[in-house]
Structure formats: structure tokens, C-alpha cells
């Protein structure tokens, strides 16, 4: 299964599953990241660094730990 850290720069992906505890789940929901949302990966993880996502026109940075808990599929 692919997670956000295996995706290349500029690719569009759909969020399939968010694993991890309730805290993380709720935090992501508050920032407008939900299962089924389509996001663009603006900056992929580099040397264990965070990823930068664009979702509905705004940017969210996610640390590698959290990014690895979000399962996604690439869409064209």
C-alpha cells in the first residue's frame, strides 16, 4: 500500500485511509484532510523531512511520521 511518503512531487492522490490514533485523526480532520479527499503533493519527503500538500487551495505540512500513516492512491 502506498502512503504519502512514497509519492513523487506534483502527483495528485486520493486519500484512502488514515491510520493512527484519534488525536491525529481529529487533528487532520480539523485541517480539512478527510478520507476521499484529493490532494496534490507539492513537496515530497526528502531525507526524512516533511511533505507539503495542497488541498482545496491551501498548503499543509505533515511530518514524515504522520505522512507515513496516510494511505493514498495515485489518480490521473
Amino acid at each position: 500500500m502506498k502512503t504519502l511518503i512514497n509519492i513523487e512531487n506534483g502527483k495528485k492522490v486520493k486519500i484512502l485511509k488514515i491510520s493512527g490514533g484519534k488525536g491525529i485523526r481529529q487533528h487532520l480532520q480539523c485541517l480539512g484532510i478527510h478520507i476521499g479527499d484529493v490532494v496534490t503533493l507539492k513537496k515530497s519527503s526528502f531525507l526524512g523531512g516533511p511533505v507539503l500538500l495542497e488541498i482545496n487551495g491551501y498548503d499543509i505540512a505533515l511530518g514524515k511520521g504522520i505522512a507515513s500513516k496516510i494511505e493514498v492512491e495515485e489518480i490521473e
Binding site: K22, G23, I24, R25, Q26, H27, L28, Q29, C30, L31, G32, H34, I35, G36, K43, F46, L47, G48, G49, P50, L52, N56, G57, Y58, D59, I60, A61, L62, G63, K64, G65, I66
Partner: protein, 637 residues
Amino acid sequence: MKIAFIGQPNAGKSTIFNGLAGYKTVTANFPGQTVHYTVSNVTVGEETFEIVDLPGIYSLTAIDKAELESRKFILSGKADVVINVIDASTLSRSLELTIQLAELQVPMVICLNMIDEAKRKGLEINLKKLSEVFDVPVIETIANKGIGLSKIFTSAKEAFYKNKIPKIQHFHKDIEEKIEEIEKIIPSKLLPNIPRRYIAIKLLEGDAELFEDLRDYKELILKINEIRDEIKSSHGRHADTVISSERHALTMNIFEEVTKVGEPIKSAREKLDDLLTNRFLGYPLLFSILFGIFFLVFEVGKLLEEPLVHIFDSLIKRLPEYISENTLTFYIIKGLLEGFAGGLGVAIPYLIPFFIGLTILEDVGYLPRMAFLMDTIMHRIGLHGKSVLPFIISYGCNVPGVMATRILESPRDRFITAALSVFIPCAARTTVIFGLVGAFIGGIAAAGLYILNLLVIMTMGAILTRFIPEITPGLIMEIPPLRIPTLKNVFMKTWLRLKDFTVVAWPLLVLSSIILSFLEFLNLDSVLNQIFKPLVSWILGLPEQTGITLIFGILRKELSMIMLFQALDTTNIGQLMTKTQIIVFTIFTIFYLPCIGTLGVLIREIGIKKAMLVTILTITVAVFLSVLSRLILETVF
């Protein structure tokens, strides 16, 4: 009429607040700048409005401490009208909060701020339709340019007098049934002023605070958990996820109904943004920007300092011509002049350029980008990128720096970040570094002290992390768009920060200087110096007159240097202290005990026990480093 501004972080609540109330709170282009609320009275015509600026909150599910403050205020029912400030360019997400606010059933106005930015993103919002959906007034503003602010009070009055209670947005039928089921069984004593629907939904979401309030109703908790499990089995997801998806779906429906999405205007800003967070170029840029600011602060400060200090110096030298020496009046006037000169000649020349630099970085929105770049490095010391923000603010002053730790989610991260923040050389300590090491040894040596300081902080971070290991959730942070700072805001913010110095610290400086002069007159200073001689002379190898200056440094760090000039009776320290002594003195001043102000805020934020722990830590580190540098430097020179 009490009006509360509520909205998601970085939506521009504080900018609107300042626009209405005159400049009262510090704004910045990063999420979570406001960590406590500010109240102000504004009179328009014959009516007086009490306006409240609350910390930004993504959702009524509070995640960090600042959000909890907002939620508490909203739930207290003190607000007559709620103004929901929305960053129009993130409307699709912001409406999720609006839907939750509607559940509180308080008269409301929707304020679509940064409408210009929404247009740049190609969003065209139909105000009339949005107003119909919620049945409340909707207004447009561009707060940083002051556009549309006059409509705020008229629409607030309309909402209040016409009792514009927002329309509830309903979920799917099966969820609504569950909500109703819970509404019926909530004890009437629980939060009597809050609508039952709000409580029911929060309980479905498993809100920890509300469950805590319900701890005496064991059966009720069982029943609610039963309902949550029913939802989980019928939807295949946790109840909180189901509610959040429902809300998301509602939001997207409203968003699609009221907005037309066109092509975004691509601009140079996106390209610049891309460059600033570039994985290779981002770091040299970060380094150059920070180095550039420190270099400018040093150069501009020096330019202003020299003539100013010169004026006062010659004045003090000529003092015996007017008043005879060895009288009390002479000592008091000398103390007064020296304290006054200390503030005007030493602190202010460095503070002004520093504050301007920090303000520009904040308003442009560079700080969250720094957090993004620094995330990997911060992980090495057991923290994550967001901790960079309190650190950077601490370079201005540790007090707001420690307060900014509230944007962190876990108590452990807050403690470690706060503990490390007090080690950061604030503007006051910067004046000591520049004024002593910079002026008498050189700029490179001063820069070296900053690097030493960083290394110490990283080591301390690594050690503290060993003692309090815990997997932190990691970085989750919104990166706001780059913005061009307005001249007015930069000026007002610098002034606000400078005012803190002139009204609080400067008088303290003058007063302490007079006290020291008075002690000198009574020959008491030598008694105090004798008490501290073991530490100051034997361990640190400093002239014994410096003992008293280190005591005064606890009030405010730059006092140490001003007092040093006075205690040694010269502004040319280089003649009386060796280079080693100057460096040891400065290192000790940087690291030992946070000043009184910082200590106060530290106690408030992390509790007295932990604050004492940090204090002991700072003294230990200061003595250790001073002795170490003394030994090394004495062998080198």
C-alpha cells in the same frame, strides 16, 4: 454589546481587531499567533462595543491549549454576537467551523476576509446565497488594507437586534436520529446554557472534556458509547470520523452552492514560495536571511549607538564641574544619567532594527516555512518543526517565546521547547553580546557566541529528550500564503514591542542604576561583591566588582552590561577587563537564570516545580560553560 471574533488560525481576526480598536495585539502571518484573548472597548456613535479577539480555532474540537481558551470563552456564553472571521481563500475548510458555531445558537455575522486573495485563487463567492444558507449577515473585508471594516459594527448590530441566530445544518437522517437520542438523555444540569444539540454531537465525537464532565453519570457514558459503537458498525468507521465526514460533506455542498471556481492567477509569489522551501536552496537561503538580519542589526545598531553613547559619556565626565563629587546628589544624578544612557544608547539602537526584521519575517509568512525546513533537524533533538516558532520569537524576547509554546500539542513538547527557549539570547542579551563582545573583541567573536549557544541548545534538547522519551505526533501545520507586509503594520508592531521596553524595562534600568549608585555612595556595593566573590572571582575569574552587576541582570539582562559600565566606572571595558574576562562574563550572562519576566511566564506556562528545575538547569549550564571557556581561553591567550 459584547462581540467575539472567532475564526480559524491566520484568518485575520487580530488584524480586524487592531483595525477597529487601534493597535493592541500583535499579528503575524502564521497560524496560532494569538495565544490569549484581548478585550477592547470601541465607541461608535452613541454605542459602546466590547470586542474580544480570540485565538484561532480550526474546529470546536480543541487540539492545543490556545484553542481550548477560545472554546472555553465561546461556551461561557459571554458573547452577544459572534463574528465568524473566515479567510475567504480557504472557504471550503473554514465553513466546517461555521457549521459548528451555528450549533451554539448565538447571533452571528460571517465576515469573509482576504477576499482579494480568494479572487487570486479564482474563487467567486456569492454573498447573498451564503447569507441565505445560514440566515445571517455576510460581509466582505480586506482587513490589512482596512477595506470593509466599517461594516462590522452595523452588521453586528443587525445580527443582535434582529436576533439573527444561524440556521442549523442537518446531517443525514440516521445520524440525526442518534443525535436526538443523545439529546434526550443529557442531564439538564450539564452546561445548562449550551444547546443540547451541540453537546450531543460533541459526545458522539468522543470529546474528552465533556466526558470528564459526565464522569458521575456512569450509565449515561455506557449508553453513549453504545450509540457510538452502533454508528461504527453501521458505517464501518469511528463515530468521530463519521461526524467529521458528514460535516465535510455538508461544507462541500454549501461551498459548491455559493462559489464559482475559476482559474487561479499564477504569480511570482508561487515561484518564490517554491524557492524558499526548496530542498537544496531552502537552507542556504534560510541561513543568509537570518545572518543578514543579524548583520544588519549589528551594523545599524552600531551606527546609532556610538554617537548616542558619546553624548552621554561626555556629559557624565563633565558632571563634577556642576555638582561637587562625593555628595549624594552627585551619585543619584550620575546613576540616573547612566541608566538613561544605557537604555537610549545601548538597547534601543539594537532593538529597533531587530524588531523590524522580526516583524517583516513574521508578516511575510517566512516563519512557518522555516518550521517546514527545520523539521528534520528538530527531530534530532526530539521535537518537531513547529518548535522553531517559539525559538525564533525568543530571539526577540523570551516572554512571548515561552508563551508561543502553546501552539504545540503535547505537554512534553511544550515543556522541552519552553525549557530550551529560555536559553535563547533575547534582544536584551543580544545587546550584551554586541555591546561587550561585539564592541571590544569583534563581530566574528559575537557570531561565535551565537553558534555556541545553538550547539548548547541542541545538546540540551538531545539530553532532555533522553529523559522524557515519547513519540510525538509530529508536524501538522498549515503553511499560509506569502504576503507582502504593509508598512503601517511593520511600524505599529515595532512600536508596540518597543513600547514594552520603554515603559517597563527602561524605568527599571534607570531605577537600578540609581540604586547601584546609591549603594556605591554608602559603600555597600563592596559588601555585596564580597559575598559573591567566591563565585565571581575564584570560579569565573572576573573582577570582583562584577558580582553586583550579575545580580541586577536578573531584573533585565542588559542591566548587567549597563551596571558593568557603572561598576567599573568606564564605558571602555577593554582597558579594565581582559578578552577572556569579557567572554566569560558574556557567556555567564547569556546562560544564567532567565530574567524575572521570563521566570514569571515560565511558572504560568509549565508550573512552579518545572520552572524551578529549568532555573537550576540554567545556573548549572552557565557555571559549567563559563568555567570551561575560561580554562580554554586562558590556555589559548
